[in-house]
């Protein structure tokens, strides 16, 4: 319950933050909303020498439009994401999935950028940005870098961010006209998803023209269910969707833990993919 001691920096700008991170090297950690970092510190599972609190850095939160893209500041809280009219209109999947994250008090503090940078495959939002084909923008000593979501999640709790890079914004292509659904399966309301399925579906003339399916907690990183996505193209009824969903667990490597076995997770991925796609397609 007692965090280990650390030094503390509270930069006033992105540049200061990046400089602090560069100075701190591997032993520095970014403190965004703290809802992932503080639990690690309390359980003494992380021992940073320096904590860089970016909570006061201006310009890191809020949502704006940039043509066909929504730009969401990394420090935008889950609560604000859920209620933001632009997000609701153009990236409903993100709003819906964010509403399932943790609980209201955690959502008041926790941030979109924080939960993505944490890169927990059991977190709900990594799969969602993967499904949305979002881009993540990092600022480092050498400047600004845009990382596609599919390259951002490198391994378990490991993102593509360098130790001296700060995630500053998430760029989400507007998904206007896409049906969406996030199907989260968990044993109690607050617990992590055993499996989650983020689905985006574009319909054309009663058939699924294109589907994007991303999986939560089916491996060391969030995963796109490519085989299922391909099989879903052209599906016109519930049966065809269910058939395509059988391929949802292909290429996944889910973990064994106290809440489920890999085998059961694979089964769930197939069932939940079918349900998520049907709901997203309005065919459920």
């Amino acid at each position: 319950m007692i965090p280990p001691a650390f030094d503390y920096a509270r930069p006033g700008s992105i540049e200061e933050a990046v400089r602090a991170l560069a100075d701190g090297g591997e032993d520095a950690k970014v403190l965004a909303g703290g809802q992932s970092l503080l639990p690690l510190l309390r359980m003494r599972l992380a021992f940073p020498e320096l904590v860089v609190d970016v909570g006061r850095v201006p310009g890191l939160s809020g949502v704006r439009e940039d043509g066909d893209t929504l730009v969401i500041g990394a420090m935008t809280t889950h609560h604000d994401v859920i209620h933001d009219p632009l997000v609701r209109r153009h990236a409903g999947l993100l709003a819906a999935a964010t509403a399932t994250v943790a609980d209201p008090a955690v959502r008041h503090r926790g941030t979109l950028g924080g939960s993505l940078a944490h890169a927990d495959p059991a977190g709900d939002l990594p799969a969602v940005v993967l499904a949305l084909d979002a881009e993540l923008v990092a600022q480092g000593p050498g400047g600004r870098r845009v990382i596609p979501a599919r390259e951002f999640f490198v391994d378990y709790l490991q993102s593509a961010l360098a130790p001296d890079e700060l995630l500053t914004e998430v760029r989400v292509p507007k998904a206007d006209g896409w049906g969406f659904h996030y199907e989260k399966f968990h044993r109690v309301a607050q617990s992590w998803a055993i499996v989650g399925v983020a689905a985006l579906v574009r319909r054309d003339d009663g058939h699924i023209a294109e589907a994007r399916v991303a999986l939560t907690n089916m491996g060391a990183t969030p995963l796109r269910a490519h085989a299922a996505e391909e099989a879903l193209a052209g599906a016109g009824d519930a049966e065809a969707v269910a058939r395509a969903a059988q391929e949802a667990a292909d290429g996944t490597h889910p973990a064994q833990d106290t809440s489920a076995s890999p085998e059961y997770r694979a089964h769930l991925a197939r069932v939940l993919t079918g349900r998520a796609v049907l709901t997203a397609a309005g065919m459920g």
Partner: protein
């Protein structure tokens, strides 16, 4: 002129306890501070079983803010083994249990060293500096192989992992009965380990006065009185120099019915340093060290006629003691031993329980303690028998239960149930549940092959409450008695103090005891104060557990208050120059029959007694009274619970659709509090059925080691309950009360699991082990499917 007096008993009084809890003006143990207070932190074994080859605390002393650090050897002098007061058999194996491990650790979390520092942060940091070498030993984790020859031993000096074997055979010989039975059903059930999770983590504060050798110990405990006696024995601090206070206590559910190593260690450290000390567990630490509940393998066999008439019952238990015997660890299964036959009549009962040591956190009382296990086993098996016979499960129960007109009834296990009306409770439950309609929907879904099946679970129960008649405790080899003490004092101004030996931690004793005393004394509810939880202010008590507080402690208040009235009557008769027989006492006023103007209020009499200017000759100048009540018998609440569950056969997810409980707890002091107790009990029983389990790996590590992994349900995970009561007064006590603390927990677990199995039975499923996780349901369905194809 007649005064009408509103009866307090039976009123839904909002609680007196609430005001300070609602506004944060609380005195949880961790809130208590003292000048110079030091904080204790404990280093705990990361291994389930190992020899300690080296414990070096000296590096911790170098850390800033650290005042002292001790190994087990450092504190061994002056601390004896932690107590177990229930040696259930003559030949029970009672291992040594040092408060701080000296040469061996026997479960993950066993404490190996103590640091004492200026604040909790410094103490936590210093733990990391302590150096310990562990020489791993093979852990004992499986109850059956633990008993096999050649098994590694939890306590090598004892030569066995068998703690005891306790038999109970009543009625006819079971084998003979089975020989003439037309049907028998044999099943094995696992009672998973549960972690009680009172919301307030445990904490202890000790403030010593070195010069006089006096110690005050504050603890988040259910049992300040028992704690005082036993800590005096463990530490050698004379009992009269030790004051124990249970301040605000945030729930217990049995987990604080314990004498914990940390309490003894805090006293030892305070004695050594002459400074006040505090220890507060973190939740995850508590998962390893606060005792667990349940943890049994149950083999149960039931023999019956083809018309469903029960003939006999055989039960074989293996009970996981964990690594050590805590306060009443061995006795928990015995509290259930008498309850396996439940509310049913039969001719033979054969029960055996074997306690087994393992390298896991010790087990002990958890809400219901033995009785939920018993009720689960019999009620699950009754459903299995009903399925075997093709009979409606409610009908099978009806054919076998003790009928209303048969009370008092001596049940097969030897207990005489004083009262009950199983017909009435069941009829009410069926009505509220709309049983027939749900059965029709179930049949429809089954016929359609719906992927979401509906299941209906029924559970009846009775329980032995009001622990306990001291002579029965003697026969069961429990070391103490089961009485409870109360004192009622009428202060000179007419206000009333009730002193109780029960020690509430959320139940509402202050409100209920006030209601009881107000009625007897005819004083306003608001004029009664209840004093508890401090051995100096309430010196005599047996504390709170086992649904005993009202049935024993509340009744003691009732009797003590009546003694006050008897004494006051003497004073009133003297003052009114009337004979005692000619006095009436209503609404707190004595008056002479036939001349109502001749009257004295209880308040006036209290003041007359205070001045003592004009008391009857030879009368002691007090109307205060105490009563220590040793109950003659147990009490026997009962009820019928019905649960409807929808099971998604594709994912295995179970969702409770409706839940009805109809409980009969006898007369009710405060219906609002009774309903609250039922709600909470239901939540915990449902949680055992669906969510909670202490999971260990093959090396004895607790995998569900935090609240993130051990799933305590939230409001979003539980249904709205429909609760009602029937009221069959207990005939064994003056208030007609039976106790309610554990009822909901006892009945709900089998109701939920019966419902899940009922939903899946058409698909070939006979059982789903608890907790019935989605994966387990899915696996049960898959196995059934494989078995059929």
């Amino acid at each position: 002129m007649t005064e009408t007096v509103a009866r307090e008993v039976g009123r839904a009084r909002p609680r007196k306890e609430d005001a300070h809890l609602l506004t944060g003006q609380t005195s949880w143990t961790d809130n208590i501070t003292a000048s110079g207070l030091l904080h204790i932190a404990l280093l705990r074994s990361p291994m389930a079983h190992a020899r300690l080859t080296r414990v070096d605390v000296s590096p911790a002393l170098e850390r800033p803010g650290v005042v002292a650090a001790f190994s087990g050897a450092d504190l061994a002098d002056g601390l004896s083994s932690m107590p177990c007061v229930w040696p259930v058999t003559e030949d029970i194996v009672m291992p040594d249990h040092p408060p701080l491990a000296v040469d061996e650790v026997r479960h993950a979390g066993d404490p190996v060293a103590v640091v004492v520092a200026r604040d909790r942060y410094a103490a936590a940091d210093a733990l990391e500096a302590i150096e310990v070498d562990y020489d791993p030993l093979p852990p004992v984790l499986d109850l059956e192989s633990a008993l096999a020859d050649g098994s590694p031993l939890v306590h090598s000096d004892k030569g066995t992992n068998r703690c005891y074997t306790w038999p109970l055979k009543t009625g006819e010989d079971f084998d003979a009965v089975r020989a003439r039975a037309e049907v028998s059903v044999r099943r094995r059930y696992h009672q998973q380990r549960l972690i009680p999770n009172a919301m307030e983590p445990r904490a202890v504060v000790v403030t010593p006065v070195a010069a006089s050798g006096e110690y005050t110990l504050y603890s988040s405990t259910q049992i300040p009185h028992i704690l005082r006696v036993l800590l005096a024995m463990v530490t050698g601090i004379p009992e009269h120099k030790l004051r124990v206070i249970a301040p605000d206590v945030g729930g217990g559910f049995g987990s604080k019915l314990q004498v914990y190593a940390e309490e003894a260690l805090a006293l030892a450290v305070a004695r050594r340093l002459g400074r006040p000390v505090k220890w507060t567990e973190s939740r995850s630490e508590g998962f390893l060290t606060t005792h667990h509940g349940r943890g049994m393998i149950q083999d149960i066999e039931i023999a019956a006629k083809s018309d469903g008439t029960l003939l006999g019952l055989k039960v074989d238990l293996l009970a996981d003691m964990g690594a050590y015997l805590m306060l009443i660890t061995p006795g928990i299964p015995l509290l259930g031993a008498f309850m396996y036959p439940g509310i049913y009549k039969m001719d033979a009962y054969d029960f055996t329980c074997t306690g087994v040591f393992t390298n896991r956190t010790p087990t002990d009382a958890y809400r219901g303690a033995g009785r939920p296990e018993a009720t689960f086993a019999i009620e699950r098996t009754m459903d299995e028998l009903a399925a075997e016979l093709g009979m409606d499960p409610v009908e099978l129960r009806r054919r076998n239960w003790i009928r209303h007109e048969e009370f008092p009834y001596t049940a097969i296990a030897g207990l005489t149930y004083d009262s009950g009306n199983y017909e009435a409770a069941t009829a009410r439950a069926l009505e509220l549940f709309d049983y027939d309609k749900l059965r029709a929907e179930q049949a429809d879904r089954n016929a359609r092959g719906d992927t979401v099946r509906l299941g209906i679970g029924v559970s009846t129960y009775t329980e032995m409450c009001g622990l306990a008649p001291s002579r029965i405790l003697r026969d069961l080899r429990y070391a103490a008695g089961g009485w409870e003490a109360a004192t009622v004092r009428v202060l000179p101004t007419g206000k009333v103090e009730v002193v109780t030996g029960t020690s509430p931690h959320g139940q509402g004793h202050v409100t209920c005891w006030s209601q009881i005393a107000a009625d007897v004394l005819g004083v306003p509810f608001e004029d009664v104060e209840v004093v508890h939880g401090d051995t100096k202010a309430a010196p005599q008590g047996m504390d709170t557990y086992g649904s005993r507080s009202l049935v024993v402690g509340g009744l003691a208040v009732h009797h003590a208050a009546n003694k006050v009235v008897d004494k006051a009557r003497k004073v009133a008769a003297h003052l009114l120059e009337a004979s005692e027989q000619d006095l009436e006492f209503t609404g707190g006023v004595f008056s002479v029959k036939g001349s109502p103007e001749a009257r004295r209020t209880l308040q006036e009499i209290a003041f007359e007694t205070f001045s003592s200017h004009d008391l009857p000759d030879g009368m002691e100048p007090t109307i205060n009274a105490e009563h220590v009540l040793d109950p003659d018998t147990f009490s026997y609440p009962h009820g019928t619970h019905l649960c409807a569950v929808e099971v998604d056969t594709e994912t295995g997810q179970s969702r409770i659709r409706s839940y009805v409980s109809v409980d009969d707890v006898g007369k009710v002091i405060n219906p609002m509090i009774v309903e609250g107790q039922v709600h909470g009990g239901l939540a915990q029983g449902i949680a055992q059925a669906l969510f909670e389990e202490a999971v260990y790996d093959d090396e004895g590590n607790l995998l569900s080691g935090t609240m993130a992994d051990y799933l305590v349900p939230s409001a979003a995970d539980l249904p709205e309950f429909v609760t009602d009561r029937t009221e069959t007064p207990a005939t064994s006590n003056a208030l007609g009360v039976k106790g309610v603390g554990e009822a909901g927990t006892i009945a709900s677990t089998p109701a939920v699991v019966n419902a899940i199995v009922d939903a899946l039975r058409p698909l070939g499923v006979q059982d789903v082990p608890m907790p019935c996780t989605p994966e387990r349901v899915w696996r049960a369905l898959r196995s059934a499917q494989e078995a059929r194809s």
